[in-house]
Amino acid sequence: MTTALPRKPAHHERTSPTRRRRRVSWSLITAIVFAALFALAAIAPGVLATDDPTAQNFADALQSPSLTHWFGTDEAGRDLYSRIVHGTRESLLIGIGAAGIALTAALVLGSIAALADRVTASIVNRIIEVAFAFPSLLLALLLVSILGPSPWTQVVAVGVSTAPGYARMVRGQILSAKNAGYVEAARALGHGWWRILGRHVLPNAIRPLVAVFTMAIGQSIVWASGLSFLGLGVAPPSSEWGALLDAGRASILQAPWLTFIPGLVILVLALTATTIGTHIQNSLEKGR
């Protein structure tokens, strides 16, 4: 006799090692395909889009997506698909660069706050707190005003203004990694402090940040579009996605594709990055 007993989540299950047998993860494969496309677009945009991204064709202005113009055209008849493809490099630069700056700054500050001697640590801690309490929008506004508009400014502005949040996270991670059993075990083996720091503490503290980093990529581009919204975007005719997103804003009722498609692309990038990041993090966490 077979009876179906109530099916409840099994609690041993998820922690049991047998669980993690390799399976084909379609989401990961999709993510990798997209990542490859993004990379290609960034390195050799001409391969994916042969049209000149700035070429205007007034007769073709504001065409909705079609076979000739996959993503439609903008008010000057520029092909949105080409613009997006050619804007990939700058967008990724902003996304990855800003996330990179944010996390690097966070790592440096966070590690000092967690590892340095009392006085230094508390000074750095205060700096992080102040930076955190400082409205990040204002920080970005001021930086763009001081540095002048360019993709690099965006990278710096977005990166610096999001760094304090991550710095706190890093500090927490390092503090907990520092107290981990394997650190004591390494000490008991007679390893030096720097070796322990380099081999155990930092790598383990950084591990959970992989997912954070990948998430930060998408967020940075959205942040950059916020700066464009405030008139602090990259210089035209750049087709950085945040700028595209913002440029299409006014015509959202009549030409929704002009803002929807860039937004969608940013979302896909965010999803791609997060999927890959989660996967990397999981494989780091669980071993192979």
Partner: protein, 302 residues
């Protein structure tokens, strides 16, 4: 003590950053008053320089400013001729209402969504976290306009020009809440699923408790801890998040005020807002600590 340092630091940073802004402040003040953007002759600028002491050494200006702060005087806006206190006081209420409602909504959305999807088998979980990621990366302008067009223009449930009216708060708050819910959802989900795996969940089940009861009475509390941290952060980040929403829904608020003050190089207003946000941040942190110990009394001692 720490709070004082944070306030002083934020105020000083704001002051210095303003000083580092390129361009001449007096020119900005005059240009904004005329709606022109051009250079100005010293004669034109003299009255303004005089009125605001812009020719004093930076250190003197700084000391004046800090002295004012200590006396609780944030100065007077160059553009509106009003004490910064009044100006902020007037705008703060609406921003606070917006953020608090937004945070509240975010919590509700996040709890419902995570409770529905966390720990439910691979498909549902994947969907759950994909939605988290997507919502967390939604450009606020997009989201705001979509909500406005759908709920405001098509369904007419809520006003398009929200203003500060009561039912005008819903759409702006949702615009803030949805990405925040996604953001919080990502970290809550992990914690939530971890808690679902805990033995005490099984013992509750063994007591005869149903799944929903377990999720809401036991697991949620464990899962919420990261969301509390993020909430503290969100309260502090109020200004940044609110500005776009305030523009779309034509709400008054501190975000808009800040952006225009930066544009106008209205130093007293900018620094005033920074100090205020720092205060908010300090308060938010205190609240977060309090909520932590409410949720997890173990944290009180450590």
């Amino acid at each position: 003590m720490g709070a004082v340092v944070v306030l002083w630091g934020a105020a000083t940073a704001a002051f210095l950053a303003q000083m580092a802004l390129p361009g001449d402040r007096a020119t900005a003040i005059l240009n904004i008053r005329t709606g022109q953007a051009q250079e100005r002759t010293p004669d034109e600028l003299a009255p303004i320089v005089d009125a605001y002491g812009l020719d004093h050494p930076v250190l003197v200006q700084y000391l004046d400013y800090i002295g004012g702060l200590l006396r609780g005087d944030l100065g007077t806006s160059y553009q509106q001729f009003r004490p910064v206190w009044d100006l902020i006081g007037e705008q703060l209420g609406s921003t606070l209402v917006l953020t608090l409602t937004g945070i509240l909504l975010a919590w509700v959305l996040m709890i419902v969504w995570v409770t529905l999807t966390a720990g439910r088998g691979p498909r549902v979980r994947a969907l759950g976290s994909a939605v988290d990621t997507v919502t967390a990366a939604l450009p606020p302008y997009w989201l705001g306009i979509l909500l406005l067009l759908f709920f405001g223009l098509t369904l007419r449930w809520f006003p398009v020009m929200g203003g500060s009216g009561v039912n005008g708060i819903v759409l702006p708050a949702l615009t803030l809440a949805i990405p925040l819910a996604g953001f919080m959802g990502q970290s809550v989900r992990a914690e939530y699923e971890r808690a679902l795996d805990q033995p005490f969940v099984l013992s509750a089940r063994m007591r005869g408790m149903g799944d929903l009861g377990i999720r809401l009475r036991h697991v949620l509390r464990h899962g919420s801890i990261p969301a509390v941290t993020l909430t503290g952060w969100a309260l502090g980040a109020t200004v940044s998040g609110a500005v776009i929403v305030e523009q779309i829904y034509s709400r008054p608020g501190i975000g808009k005020t800040l952006v225009s003050a930066v544009g106008a190089q209205d130093l007293p207003v900018v620094t005033g807002i920074v100090v205020l946000v720092a205060v908010l941040y300090v308060v938010a942190n205190l609240l977060v600590d309090l909520v932590y110990t409410l949720i997890d009394p173990r944290l009180k001692t450590s």
